[in-house]
Symmetry: C2
């Protein structure tokens, strides 16, 4: 998927919403547990209820790995379901991988060739080696952690370098040279919305993946104010606030309503 | 496993070798492919041939994920095999995970509760949140990336902070306060052996996991010179140089000989 195609999808749906599939078997409605693959069945219901309002799904790998090989199967089925039924929706594997060259090749193979997702989140700490193998796949994306939404992001991400800039600024500036606006995106937490203004000075044209709206307290309006560019340039993720909006029989319906609510706010913000 | 137990194992075997199980289905001997689970059968043969000479196995997750849920099964079987047959050998899942609190909980569950390994490598970029859930498991370890062996480690790890120190030094210093020498270890690449001297000033007593000896060109003697402390304090990993030492029918035997060779050098270095 190119950035132009992603922007096309945003315009068509009047939405830049990403639904995070952080599917925890201990949090899904009780009645789902009678299915052979409750995680997949939950995801399928959520996907069918929200697909009209979203341009992206983001399964978080941790939740699937916590169920071991069974979880990987649920994830593979979920990805295939989205690709078959909603081929215009981007799938980001939120995996935060990052390793040296020959190992990074294997991760890229795991996610792009085997699983078939469009994008993978990566940790930048080990440098270019960790990112490059992902950039060699036509139409696929690396999504680099820059400034995250957790409180301990201040431990290292916002350290000052000797020239006075923040570490995350140097990471964005250097890594932006490794790829293009068609294969490189950055994670910037919604809880740091005012920082988006400075980040937009470094990368005016890249897409940003913004988590932290909803359960983590970030404001969509603030994010849009500082982060929108002339081709939207934002994908805003919401996970728990949508997928666990109800834990009853109506969970999918309520998730759909919640996604629609956010989509309508986004439609206004897109102007 | 405590650091005292790990040191006991090192003294008993006169070895601080870790064998990296970076098992690539495209690199294992052809004749293994007729097995139902070639990756597990390869690992089993390598483990039985090298267990006498090693205190640690380190499967690299990327190689298993590249085979999707099937790879996770091979990995789970491998971990179970080591735990059942060689319970005194430490198992480090080289996963380089790192995510915010509630997600990090799930990763810790995946590796410690479900898979049952002793340790997991983690990327420090997102700060304390990403590490803490792993420190809450009795007898388990977080192994933090500090200074890695790849060339692009210079992109960010060795950036100078405003006080003149390297980023990786600040990461070591700050994170060392989050855990103890019994649940926190650091990755320091063998290709940066001379840096070990400065690192030992910050953390004289922590164990260091040192990759990069062998295929990546690091010298064991240099690593020992700068990194050994009074309870050894080192685990040195070798992957490809051992497990792919031969691609014939004799692959396990040759891997065992190679491991023995390194163990004998280590025995001398332990004095």
């Amino acid at each position: 998927m190119t950035s132009e195609e992603l922007y096309g999808s945003i315009l068509k749906k009047r939405s830049f919403l990403c639904v995070g599939l952080d599917t925890d078997i201990e949090k899904i409605p009780q009645h789902m547990l009678s299915y052979e693959d409750p995680v997949f069945e939950f995801n399928r219901a959520i996907i069918d209820a929200t697909a009209k309002f979203t341009v992206c799904y983001k399964p978080n790998l941790a939740f699937y790995e916590a169920e071991s090989s069974r979880g990987w199967k649920s994830l593979a089925k979920t990805v295939k379901y989205i690709k078959d039924k909603y081929p215009d929706i981007m799938i980001i594997a939120d995996a935060k991988r990052g390793d040296i060259g020959n190992t990074s090749d294997m991760y890229a193979k795991a996610f792009f060739s085997m699983m078939g997702v469009d994008a993978v989140t990566l940790s930048p700490y080990m440098g270019r080696d960790t990112v490059e193998p992902f950039l060699n796949y036509e139409g696929k994306w690396a999504v680099l952690l820059a400034l995250t939404s957790n409180t301990s992001s201040e431990d290292f991400e916002t350290l000052r370098l000797e020239d006075g800039r923040y570490l995350f600024e140097e990471i964005i500036e250097k890594s932006a040279q490794w790829g293009t606006i068609d294969n490189l995106m950055y994670v910037v937490g919604a809880t740091k919305a005012e920082m988006l203004e400075d980040i937009r000075k470094i990368i005016p044209n890249h897409f940003l993946l913004v988590p932290g709206v909803g359960a983590q307290g970030g404001s969509l309006r603030e994010v849009a104010k500082y982060g929108l560019n002339d081709r939207c340039g934002l994908i805003v993720n919401s996970s728990r606030a949508i997928i666990y909006a109800s834990d009853g029989l109506d969970f999918a319906k309520v998730a759909g309503e919640k996604a629609k609510e956010i989509q309508q706010e986004m439609s206004e913000l897109l102007g």
